[in-house]
């Protein structure tokens, strides 16, 4: 096979894969979900933020993913004392989810995934990796448990 033919074949294959899913719609769902996640976390943290116990900051980063142009997203940093937990958007091209954000602390990483139940709206879930993956809806209580798991364990 000639070099040009080889790469034309590759490009055609890529296009076939790209059009199997509406990528713009996929990206819209992911970015909307990400905004909702951040809004929800800010809501849960409103009291500690008001009391100046916690500072939330953002840093812009570029995500480079297949099938879409590179785009900007924000890491959300939760700063408390000498510690911070960073929520890092990993992307929308994730197996069996509409997107993934990794919650990274000093003592661990927990995945948050955007899932669509058979009926209803997309919802963020928290993934517990044991022998089997288990995932639970992300609510204030499970978010608190996740923070406790990835942050420094106090004596």
């Amino acid at each position: 096979m000639e070099l040009e033919t080889f790469f034309r074949h590759k490009k055609a294959r890529y296009e076939n894969q790209r059009v199997t899913i509406n990528r713009e719609e996929q990206q819209k769902i992911w970015l909307t979900g990400l905004n909702q996640l951040y809004a929800e976390i800010n809501d849960w943290l409103s009291v500690p933020i008001q009391e100046q116990i916690v500072i939330v900051s953002y840093e812009e980063t570029t995500l480079v993913e297949d099938f879409v142009n590179p785009y900007l997203v924000k890491n959300l940093c939760i700063n408390v004392g000498t510690e911070s937990v960073i929520l890092k958007p990993m992307g929308m091209n994730v197996l069996c989810a509409a997107g993934r954000v990794d919650m990274v602390g000093e003592e661990g990483i927990i995945m948050l995934v955007l899932l669509k139940p058979e009926t209803g709206e997309y919802q963020w879930h928290i993934v517990i990796r044991t022998t089997h993956n288990q995932y639970f809806p992300l609510v204030k209580e499970s978010f608190t448990d996740a923070l406790a798991q990835v942050m420094r364990k106090d004596d």
């Binding site: 199997t20 992307g91 091209n93 994730v94 197996l95 069996c96 989810a97 993934r100 995934v113 993934v127």
Partner: protein
Amino acid sequence: MTKVAFSGEEQSLAFIRQWYEDIQAALNGYQRDILNALFQGKSVNEPFLFMTKENVLDYFAKQKTELEHLVSLNMMASVEAAIRIDYLKRVYARKKESVSRRFRELHKEKGVRASLEDDILKIWKQELPSCKTAIDNFQNASKLRHWLAHGRYWTPKLGRNYNLNTIFEIAEHLLNELQISQ
């Protein structure tokens, strides 16, 4: 003299190499299936849930490294089997040339418990000095074999990087130099 009952189940380097290529092709096929599922929004088995493309590629890179490790171990075990079978056959056949005479003396002293590296290969090196490089290369690579065979719990000092091709070349070169066929 009690003779060893040969099983006939030892594997040749060629067989092991072919097996490796078959399994590697299967792993690549599995990797393609998972990536296609990612690109097309299809479901996958549980270990791959929520992986990105980079996670999938990392996962399979580790699997391929593991495959190389296990096949390298098997190749070196295959060489050991070939050399030990040759040793025992020379003893049983009571051949007259010098390597066989030395092997008979060794067998009287240590029987099947003769050490591959300290006894059998040492005799080969003394009786056939032209094989020294091939034997030294094999003995150096044996550090990798010991590390793999004994559970990898220490940091190995291998002196060089080994991969499946270098292990295959070292193994094949040694058997060729000793004129041992599989």
